[in-house]
């Protein structure tokens, strides 16, 4: 099977047999080659491949940030902030690619009116069941399939669904303030859960379905060469080959009609493109989510505020009560309980001397709050 994540063909000459060098060298008709993918599709696929891979390897470590592999990858990208930035850049590439794809498909549908070979139908279900029966040894024959097999259609539509989900949930997380202006706040963690679940599904499906289908089962090079041999066509897409041979795979449009449709389509597509590009711009720039400076979390009190009076290191009240002899609010002596009554303060020797009576409920100096100082005697 070949890539499903591509668009239907675009160039009118695409399905005509291509005279390959081998064919020119006089080989059998088995070696005739048929154009499968236009070069624009090959470039689109390359962009998709790179952005998807980048999104996967920068995204999954964010889903499992405590795992050793997750931390290794995040470290390799230069830390979590850089990892997120790379993820965002890759997301923008994928969004731009999606816009291109929508316009391209629109052109094929409304201007060229090509056959909608990627649309799923009842036949695809039948084909899937028959393929499975064949694998189990029940059916004698594999199903005969057209331009896109059921496997390819499944992958294409899974990608469309996945990109839509990832785009919507990605927007919600990227712009939480704008989103919660309209939606409940809970939508943000819900978007995160969906984004992570969908990511896991997408990456696992690519490895299981796509990697097996086009690389392991049989290496299908058509996305890189753009061509499939007649033998491959016969095996994988016999109905398409029959259509090509019958000359009904194309629906040629006469130049006059084509021109008329283009005149209508291009302005519409241009406006659509502008709207969608504006959407991407909004994605990136709609809100300033958070401050870029450190948040203010100081206690807003000064660190060094010594208690008054500062207990001197030589005096030692323990339990009970006593008195401090103060000189200008600095304690200069401690008098144990009862002794303060017999004390005479020489007014000439101590400037503004006063006696502070204290109850001590704690064992060390300084271990009483100011409120615990009971009374001040002049």
């Amino acid at each position: 099977m070949s890539k499903t994540i591509t668009k239907p063909k675009s160039a009118p000459e695409a399905r005509k047999p291509v005279a390959s060098r081998k064919a020119q060298a006089g080989q059998t008709k088995k070696d005739r080659y048929y154009q499968r993918f236009h070069w624009t599709q090959q470039i689109a696929h390359a962009l998709l491949l790179s952005s998807f891979t980048l999104l996967g390897i920068t995204g999954l470590p964010q889903k499992y940030p405590l795992s050793s592999w997750g931390q290794f990858l995040i470290g390799a990208f230069g830390g979590i902030e850089t990892t997120r930035t790379i993820h965002h850049i890759a997301a923008v590439i994928l969004m731009l690619l999606s816009i291109y794809h929508i316009l391209d498909v629109g052109y094929k549908i409304f201007v060229r009116r090509v056959r909608l070979t990627m649309l799923p139908g009842v036949k695809d279900i039948k084909d899937a069941l028959q393929s499975f029966s064949y694998n189990l040894g029940i059916a004698k024959k594999r199903p005969q399939m057209g331009r896109y097999t059921f496997e390819e259609k499944m992958e294409y539509w899974a990608l469309v669904w996945g990109t839509a989900i990832m785009g919507i949930t990605g927007f919600l997380m990227w712009n939480p303030i704008a989103s919660t202006g309209l939606l409940p706040g809970e939508i943000i963690p819900a978007a995160k859960a969906a984004h992570g679940g969908e990511a896991l599904l997408a990456v696992a499906a690519i490895i299981l379905w796509h990697l097996y289908g086009v690389h392991i089962k049989r290496f299908n090079k058509s996305m890189f060469t753009g061509k499939l041999s007649e033998n491959e066509m016969l095996h994988e897409h016999p109905l398409e080959l029959a259509d090509i041979k019958a000359g009904i795979s194309e629906r040629p449009v006469d130049p006059k009609t084509l021109r008329k449709r283009q005149i209508i389509y291009w302005p519409v597509a241009g406006i659509l493109a502008l709207i969608m590009l504006f959407g991407v711009y909004g994605f990136v720039r709609v809100e300033k989510t958070a401050i870029t400076t450190l948040p203010l979390e100081e206690d807003s009190v000064p660190v060094y505020v010594p208690q008054t009076p500062t207990p001197p290191p030589t005096i030692t009240p323990t339990q009970g009560s006593g008195a401090f002899l103060l000189a200008s609010d600095t304690p200069i002596a401690y008098l144990p309980n009862g002794e303060e009554d017999g004390l005479t303060i020489a007014a000439d020797s101590l400037d503004a001397g006063k006696l502070m009576l204290s109850k001590f409920t704690h064992q060390q100096p300084g271990q009483f709050a100011v409120s615990e100082l009971a009374a001040v005697k002049d």
């Binding site: 830390g79 979390e297 060094y304 030692t316 100096p365 709050a369």
Partner: protein
Amino acid sequence: MLKQLQIPSRRPIRIFLFVFGAILLLSAGIILVYPANASPLPSSKNSPQNEACLTCHNRPDFQRPMPSGETLSLTIDRTHFRDSAHSGISCTDCHTNISSFPHPALTAQNLRDVSLQFYTICQTCHADQYDQTLDSVHQKALAAGNTNAAICTDCHNPHTQPLLTDSDGSLLPETRSQIPQTCAQCHSAIYDQYEQSVHGAALTLENNLDVPTCIDCHGIHNIEDPTTASFRLKSPQLCATCHTDATIMDKYGISTSVLGTYVADFHGTTVTLFETQSPDQATNKPVCVTCHGIHNIKRVDDPVYGLEMKQNLLARCQTCHPDATSNFPDAWMSHFIPSPEHYPIVYYVTLFYKFFIPGILGPMAVFVVSDIVRRLIERRKGAKHA
């Protein structure tokens, strides 16, 4: 095997060496694991020499003026000294410059100088603790010229300091409850905040020893600078020490998943990654204290400041997200694990993917396996893949 292990009785010198080595190892082990306490000084209890000193120094009003104009109190209360941990050592063990009367002239210019001149003597017996202080923020401030920075004697009055630890080396309960007041001597404004906080109120009003005191977050002698990026990054782990401990939290009905739910969200993920990958690099993502407060932590159901009230939480959100509106705080799941009651959308989205992912991948895998088996069978038969 047994035979090989037997000590050959013919060689008594080996037995001696073996026993000697064992004793050496054992004693080294005991020394290594024994709690760090003061190394003993040879001194007799109530040494007569101390009494000689106290003859003068026990006088309640014994004092002298300093060149700075301050007055130095020279009173040592006999009772308090006898009750202190240092009662067994002699005055001159610390006051090494004094051996007779009259004493050598005091070189200190002010009261602070006196302490600064004496405190280094503590390392004679308390080498471990002294060495720890060398890494502390106080010592750094002192080295930078701030003489207000705390030294040994500021927290431990050498003449009155009672024993702080029991024989196992763990803090006595009454010691623990007094710690904040010791720090309050210099950090009274912070103490006032702490006293009003959920932790401080429980300690001072209920003498609840489950709550953290200053040293539980800041350490004891090696108190590090709490304003650095690295301290901020690891601060959630400090809170988690108690807040993930069910034996403490269950008593108060507090969730122990507070750290897990924090780390699972954007903020906590970022902080955790910064902590493990670039611990010295600052990030502006919030840590516990950003929302809950540092020394002024309140109950979440506090009628005035509680974060359970949406407008209080919104105000916290707005410190970093200035444009946030009323729905925004719900983007943070308030430490809840999503359930049908709390954050049902998140719960059901997660549940959906729990079934959706295997629901898609399972059939895919079955088909791929069937395809592999079919191809292997055909290859063995040499048949064409029809």
